[in-house]
Subunit: 200 residues, 2 copies
Amino acid sequence: MSARTGILLLVSGPSGSGKTTLCRRLSGENEAHYSISCTTRAPRPGEVNGRDYHFLTPDEFSHRVAAGEFLEHATVHGNSYGTLQSEVLGYLSNGTDVVMDIDVQGAAQVRACEDPAIRAALVDIFVMPATEDELHARLSGRGTDSAEVIALRMRNALEEIAHQHEYTFHLHSGTHEEDYLRFKALLLAERLRAARHIHP
Amino acid sequence: MSARTGILLLVSGPSGSGKTTLCRRLSGENEAHYSISCTTRAPRPGEVNGRDYHFLTPDEFSHRVAAGEFLEHATVHGNSYGTLQSEVLGYLSNGTDVVMDIDVQGAAQVRACEDPAIRAALVDIFVMPATEDELHARLSGRGTDSAEVIALRMRNALEEIAHQHEYTFHLHSGTHEEDYLRFKALLLAERLRAARHIHP
């Protein structure tokens, strides 16, 4: 097998789609580096710096934005989130695939990026439940949440889904095993793309 | 899972690459219809009409060429070979994937086809041993063939390989199981391509 450049797999989908589980498993099997985001929000109980997020102070975050270190970043409800280029570029040039669990706005920023290494590496997939009823069932959780909370989740999910047409690949989720098989197949297949192969 | 149109998977590679085994196995697992070629050459011992080839008389073949029934066809050493559109189009519109074990000239004809159903369905992959030494070893067979015969096979194989750049995907063959896993992954991944999904 000749050497190749890495794949940047952007994975989006509404909450409840199972996308994070898919990304974590791919990385757990050492098939890809899981890109860790930065955030200025406070760690939640159980969250570990460098595993769940890189937790930065607002000053640090702004400084790195100004230095052009982010591949994408956004502010949501007063907290900043973003992906450093260093989480991605070095891996790709080494031939390591990178998986990014990212929302539709972040994905749009990465797609708009003009760096040829990013453009050549990019593959995007949108993961979602097969039907709206299934989505609703997944967002309803264990039945302990109020109708208002569930309705808000559903609105947010439908807003994400409104962007699904921006993605080349769509995974309509079924069982965990089927989903993972198909998700991983996308990475395996993209590794065969001749344009990624480096001929010595 | 919403309905989708089928994939037309063109598989080329030199003799000894294992491509036929890959195609037969995919079809044996009911993942795709194996497209059966027509030929005017006589059946060899053990070959079954409709399984290995559709055996046609030269007159029948010419008649069907004139009627525009072939997707691709060629004459090699005085024998005609070709693929009928009926081996492909109906399957694709039904959402059945089709796998074609085809030489580089045939693949070029299919790629040049202007039928939008073919163009949308087409995925091509070139299968080859990872190194020229490995190719030579595979073409040498059991050591019972003359050096001239092996040299001719090697020349033919290198002529096929000279066209590998025309293919989007390259599979450098390793073990049978690895090869098949990666080969099948291409089909599974292409099934996720949103452009193939039919939204009711």
